[in-house]
Protein backbone atom coordinates (compact mmCIF):
# COMPACT_ATOMS: atom_id res chain seq x y z
CA UNK A 1 0.00 0.00 0.00
CA UNK A 2 1.54 3.28 -1.09
CA UNK A 3 0.59 6.93 -0.86
CA UNK A 4 -0.73 8.95 -3.80
CA UNK A 5 1.84 10.75 -5.90
CA UNK A 6 0.33 14.11 -5.23
CA UNK A 7 0.37 13.63 -1.49
CA UNK A 8 3.98 12.47 -1.66
CA UNK A 9 4.90 15.63 -3.56
CA UNK A 10 3.26 17.72 -0.90
CA UNK A 11 5.15 15.95 1.80
CA UNK A 12 8.41 16.39 -0.08
CA UNK A 13 7.78 20.09 -0.43
CA UNK A 14 7.06 20.46 3.23
CA UNK A 15 10.18 18.52 4.08
CA UNK A 16 12.32 20.74 1.88
CA UNK A 17 10.80 23.89 3.31
CA UNK A 18 11.44 22.78 6.86
CA UNK A 19 15.02 21.82 6.10
CA UNK A 20 15.67 25.20 4.53
CA UNK A 21 14.11 27.00 7.47
CA UNK A 22 16.16 25.02 9.92
CA UNK A 23 19.40 25.29 8.00
CA UNK A 24 19.55 21.54 7.50
CA UNK A 25 21.36 20.47 4.35
CA UNK A 26 19.31 18.79 1.67
CA UNK A 27 21.46 15.83 0.85
CA UNK A 28 20.65 13.10 -1.62
CA UNK A 29 20.43 10.62 1.20
CA UNK A 30 17.97 12.67 3.21
CA UNK A 31 15.79 13.23 0.18
CA UNK A 32 15.63 9.53 -0.62
CA UNK A 33 15.09 8.46 2.94
CA UNK A 34 12.33 10.95 3.50
CA UNK A 35 10.74 10.10 0.18
CA UNK A 36 10.71 6.47 1.14
CA UNK A 37 8.86 7.13 4.37
CA UNK A 38 6.59 9.63 2.67
CA UNK A 39 5.47 7.18 0.02
CA UNK A 40 5.13 4.15 2.26
CA UNK A 41 1.76 3.55 3.81
CA UNK A 42 2.89 0.53 5.77
CA UNK A 43 4.88 2.14 8.58
CA UNK A 44 8.25 0.55 7.87
CA UNK A 45 11.02 0.24 10.44
CA UNK A 46 14.58 1.52 10.00
CA UNK A 47 15.85 -1.63 8.36
CA UNK A 48 12.99 -1.86 5.88
CA UNK A 49 13.56 1.75 4.91
CA UNK A 50 17.25 1.02 4.50
CA UNK A 51 16.56 -1.93 2.20
CA UNK A 52 14.14 0.01 0.04
CA UNK A 53 16.33 3.08 -0.27
CA UNK A 54 19.29 0.91 -1.11
CA UNK A 55 17.56 -0.28 -4.24
CA UNK A 56 17.77 3.21 -5.65
CA UNK A 57 20.93 4.26 -3.86
CA UNK A 58 23.21 1.30 -3.28
CA UNK A 59 25.84 3.23 -1.36
CA UNK A 60 23.60 4.49 1.42
CA UNK A 61 24.47 3.16 4.86
CA UNK A 62 22.26 1.94 7.65
CA UNK A 63 23.65 4.38 10.16
CA UNK A 64 22.69 7.28 7.92
CA UNK A 65 19.18 5.90 7.78
CA UNK A 66 19.00 5.83 11.56
CA UNK A 67 20.47 9.29 11.93
CA UNK A 68 18.11 10.67 9.33
CA UNK A 69 14.99 9.07 10.74
CA UNK A 70 15.56 10.48 14.19
CA UNK A 71 16.40 13.84 12.68
CA UNK A 72 13.11 13.79 10.77
CA UNK A 73 11.38 12.82 13.97
CA UNK A 74 12.97 15.70 15.87
CA UNK A 75 11.94 18.07 13.10
CA UNK A 76 8.37 16.83 13.36
CA UNK A 77 8.42 15.58 9.79
CA UNK A 78 7.81 12.03 10.77
CA UNK A 79 6.12 10.37 13.67
CA UNK A 80 6.77 7.05 15.36
CA UNK A 81 4.08 4.56 16.17
CA UNK A 82 3.20 3.67 19.70
CA UNK A 83 5.86 3.93 22.35
CA UNK A 84 8.38 3.21 19.70
CA UNK A 85 11.74 4.47 20.76
CA UNK A 86 11.45 2.46 23.91
CA UNK A 87 11.83 -1.16 24.77
CA UNK A 88 8.87 -3.39 25.50
CA UNK A 89 7.05 -2.50 28.70
CA UNK A 90 4.81 -4.81 30.65
CA UNK A 91 1.55 -4.41 32.47
CA UNK A 92 -0.28 -6.94 34.63
CA UNK A 93 -3.49 -4.92 34.57
CA UNK A 94 -5.93 -7.05 32.60
CA UNK A 95 -8.95 -4.81 33.04
CA UNK A 96 -9.80 -2.75 30.00
CA UNK A 97 -7.90 0.48 30.38
CA UNK A 98 -6.14 3.27 28.53
CA UNK A 99 -2.84 5.09 28.87
CA UNK A 100 -1.56 8.55 29.48
CA UNK A 101 2.09 8.85 28.42
CA UNK A 102 4.43 11.73 29.13
CA UNK A 103 6.30 12.63 25.98
CA UNK A 104 9.25 14.00 27.91
CA UNK A 105 10.00 11.41 30.56
CA UNK A 106 8.03 8.37 29.52
CA UNK A 107 5.91 8.35 32.68
CA UNK A 108 2.89 6.19 31.88
CA UNK A 109 -0.31 5.83 33.84
CA UNK A 110 -3.39 3.71 33.33
CA UNK A 111 -6.79 5.30 33.36
CA UNK A 112 -10.30 3.99 32.99
CA UNK A 113 -13.28 5.24 31.05
CA UNK A 114 -16.42 3.37 30.16
CA UNK A 115 -17.08 5.93 27.49
CA UNK A 116 -13.78 5.16 25.79
CA UNK A 117 -14.26 1.43 26.20
CA UNK A 118 -17.37 1.74 24.09
CA UNK A 119 -16.32 4.17 21.38
CA UNK A 120 -17.81 3.53 18.00
CA UNK A 121 -15.29 2.91 15.27
CA UNK A 122 -15.89 4.17 11.76
CA UNK A 123 -17.16 1.57 9.32
CA UNK A 124 -13.98 1.78 7.29
CA UNK A 125 -12.25 -0.13 10.07
CA UNK A 126 -14.55 -3.11 9.78
CA UNK A 127 -13.26 -3.76 6.29
CA UNK A 128 -9.70 -4.07 7.54
CA UNK A 129 -10.36 -7.19 9.55
CA UNK A 130 -11.75 -8.56 12.75
CA UNK A 131 -11.72 -5.99 15.51
CA UNK A 132 -10.38 -6.85 18.94
CA UNK A 133 -9.43 -4.55 21.77
CA UNK A 134 -9.49 -0.82 21.27
CA UNK A 135 -7.12 1.22 23.27
CA UNK A 136 -6.64 4.94 23.65
CA UNK A 137 -3.24 6.48 24.12
CA UNK A 138 -3.08 10.05 25.32
CA UNK A 139 0.24 11.77 24.84
CA UNK A 140 1.06 14.79 26.91
CA UNK A 141 3.40 16.19 29.50
CA UNK A 142 3.13 14.99 33.08
CA UNK A 143 2.85 17.34 36.06
CA UNK A 144 6.37 16.57 37.17
CA UNK A 145 7.79 17.61 33.79
CA UNK A 146 5.60 20.70 33.77
CA UNK A 147 7.15 21.77 37.05
CA UNK A 148 3.70 21.62 38.57
CA UNK A 149 5.04 19.02 40.97
CA UNK A 150 2.85 18.71 44.03
Amino acid sequence: MSIEKQEVEQRMNHFQAVCRDEGIKLTHQRMEIFREVAQSGDHPDADQIFQRVRNRMPTVSLDTVYRTLWLLNDLGLVVTLGFSRERARFDANLKEHHHFVCERCGFTRDFYSEALDNIRLPESVDSLGQIGATHVEVRGVCRECLGTGA
Copy 2:
Protein backbone atom coordinates in the same frame (compact mmCIF):
# COMPACT_ATOMS: atom_id res chain seq x y z
CA MET B 1 3.21 4.25 42.10
CA SER B 2 2.36 0.74 43.20
CA ILE B 3 -0.72 -1.42 43.17
CA GLU B 4 -2.80 -2.17 46.26
CA LYS B 5 -1.85 -5.23 48.22
CA GLN B 6 -5.24 -6.82 47.79
CA GLU B 7 -5.19 -6.40 44.03
CA VAL B 8 -1.68 -7.86 43.91
CA GLU B 9 -2.88 -10.88 45.84
CA GLN B 10 -5.71 -11.38 43.39
CA ARG B 11 -3.32 -11.20 40.48
CA MET B 12 -0.98 -13.68 42.13
CA ASN B 13 -3.84 -16.09 42.68
CA HIS B 14 -4.92 -15.84 39.09
CA PHE B 15 -1.34 -16.36 37.94
CA GLN B 16 -1.00 -19.48 40.05
CA ALA B 17 -4.30 -20.85 38.86
CA VAL B 18 -3.38 -20.35 35.22
CA CYS B 19 0.02 -21.96 35.70
CA ARG B 20 -1.57 -24.98 37.33
CA ASP B 21 -4.13 -25.29 34.56
CA GLU B 22 -1.49 -25.07 31.90
CA GLY B 23 0.93 -27.40 33.61
CA ILE B 24 3.51 -24.66 33.95
CA LYS B 25 5.81 -25.07 36.92
CA LEU B 26 5.53 -22.53 39.69
CA THR B 27 9.15 -21.69 40.26
CA HIS B 28 10.49 -19.22 42.72
CA GLN B 29 11.74 -17.05 39.85
CA ARG B 30 8.40 -16.97 38.07
CA MET B 31 6.62 -16.05 41.26
CA GLU B 32 8.96 -13.16 41.95
CA ILE B 33 8.98 -11.90 38.38
CA PHE B 34 5.22 -12.00 38.10
CA ARG B 35 4.82 -10.41 41.52
CA GLU B 36 7.09 -7.59 40.44
CA VAL B 37 5.00 -6.82 37.37
CA ALA B 38 1.79 -7.29 39.30
CA GLN B 39 2.74 -4.77 41.95
CA SER B 40 4.29 -2.18 39.63
CA GLY B 41 2.00 0.47 38.29
CA ASP B 42 4.68 2.11 36.16
CA HIS B 43 4.92 -0.36 33.28
CA PRO B 44 8.55 -1.35 33.70
CA ASP B 45 10.66 -2.87 30.92
CA ALA B 46 12.56 -6.15 31.16
CA ASP B 47 15.68 -4.61 32.57
CA GLN B 48 13.87 -2.65 35.26
CA ILE B 49 12.03 -5.77 36.30
CA PHE B 50 15.33 -7.62 36.42
CA GLN B 51 16.90 -4.97 38.65
CA ARG B 52 13.97 -4.94 41.04
CA VAL B 53 13.65 -8.69 41.31
CA ARG B 54 17.37 -8.98 41.86
CA ASN B 55 17.07 -7.02 45.08
CA ARG B 56 15.06 -9.83 46.57
CA MET B 57 16.62 -12.65 44.61
CA PRO B 58 20.24 -11.88 43.76
CA THR B 59 20.82 -15.00 41.73
CA VAL B 60 18.09 -14.44 39.16
CA SER B 61 19.37 -13.97 35.63
CA LEU B 62 18.29 -11.52 32.97
CA ASP B 63 17.53 -14.22 30.43
CA THR B 64 15.12 -15.85 32.84
CA VAL B 65 13.37 -12.51 33.19
CA TYR B 66 12.99 -12.28 29.42
CA ARG B 67 11.81 -15.85 29.07
CA THR B 68 9.34 -15.41 31.88
CA LEU B 69 7.91 -12.13 30.63
CA TRP B 70 7.17 -13.51 27.19
CA LEU B 71 5.73 -16.63 28.76
CA LEU B 72 3.42 -14.51 30.90
CA ASN B 73 2.50 -12.57 27.81
CA ASP B 74 1.69 -15.76 25.89
CA LEU B 75 -0.43 -16.96 28.80
CA GLY B 76 -2.34 -13.68 28.75
CA LEU B 77 -1.23 -12.86 32.27
CA VAL B 78 0.56 -9.74 31.22
CA VAL B 79 0.14 -7.31 28.41
CA THR B 80 2.65 -5.17 26.54
CA LEU B 81 2.18 -1.51 25.85
CA GLY B 82 1.83 -0.16 22.37
CA PHE B 83 3.52 -1.98 19.52
CA SER B 84 6.08 -3.15 21.98
CA ARG B 85 7.74 -6.26 20.74
CA GLU B 86 8.63 -4.50 17.54
CA ARG B 87 11.24 -1.99 16.54
CA ALA B 88 10.41 1.65 15.99
CA ARG B 89 8.21 2.23 12.95
CA PHE B 90 7.88 5.52 11.12
CA ASP B 91 5.00 7.38 9.59
CA ALA B 92 5.10 10.56 7.51
CA ASN B 93 1.36 11.09 7.86
CA LEU B 94 1.05 14.22 9.96
CA LYS B 95 -2.72 14.48 9.77
CA GLU B 96 -4.51 13.36 12.90
CA HIS B 97 -5.18 9.69 12.48
CA HIS B 98 -5.53 6.37 14.24
CA HIS B 99 -4.24 2.86 13.72
CA PHE B 100 -5.55 -0.59 13.10
CA VAL B 101 -2.90 -3.22 13.92
CA CYS B 102 -3.03 -6.89 13.10
CA GLU B 103 -1.96 -8.85 16.16
CA ARG B 104 -0.79 -11.75 14.05
CA CYS B 105 1.30 -10.21 11.28
CA GLY B 106 1.85 -6.64 12.39
CA PHE B 107 0.01 -5.18 9.39
CA THR B 108 -0.81 -1.61 10.33
CA ARG B 109 -3.13 0.80 8.60
CA ASP B 110 -4.06 4.40 9.27
CA PHE B 111 -7.68 5.38 9.52
CA TYR B 112 -9.47 8.63 10.11
CA SER B 113 -12.40 9.57 12.27
CA GLU B 114 -13.52 13.00 13.34
CA ALA B 115 -15.51 11.39 16.10
CA LEU B 116 -12.40 9.79 17.54
CA ASP B 117 -10.35 12.97 17.09
CA ASN B 118 -12.79 14.68 19.40
CA ILE B 119 -13.38 12.08 22.08
CA ARG B 120 -13.87 13.47 25.54
CA LEU B 121 -11.38 12.24 28.06
CA PRO B 122 -12.42 11.59 31.65
CA GLU B 123 -11.51 14.33 34.09
CA SER B 124 -9.09 12.07 35.91
CA VAL B 125 -6.74 12.47 32.97
CA ASP B 126 -6.54 16.22 33.34
CA SER B 127 -4.91 15.81 36.70
CA LEU B 128 -2.09 13.76 35.21
CA GLY B 129 -0.68 16.62 33.18
CA GLN B 130 -1.06 18.63 30.03
CA ILE B 131 -2.91 16.72 27.37
CA GLY B 132 -1.58 16.59 23.84
CA ALA B 133 -2.54 14.29 20.99
CA THR B 134 -4.95 11.46 21.58
CA HIS B 135 -4.60 8.41 19.50
CA VAL B 136 -6.68 5.28 19.18
CA GLU B 137 -5.12 1.93 18.53
CA VAL B 138 -7.39 -0.85 17.39
CA ARG B 139 -5.94 -4.32 17.68
CA GLY B 140 -7.42 -7.08 15.65
CA VAL B 141 -6.72 -9.61 12.93
CA CYS B 142 -6.40 -8.42 9.35
CA ARG B 143 -8.33 -9.95 6.46
CA GLU B 144 -5.24 -11.61 5.08
CA CYS B 145 -4.60 -13.43 8.36
CA LEU B 146 -8.28 -14.36 8.63
CA GLY B 147 -8.03 -16.05 5.28
CA THR B 148 -10.70 -13.70 4.02
CA GLY B 149 -8.17 -12.41 1.51
CA ALA B 150 -9.89 -10.51 -1.28
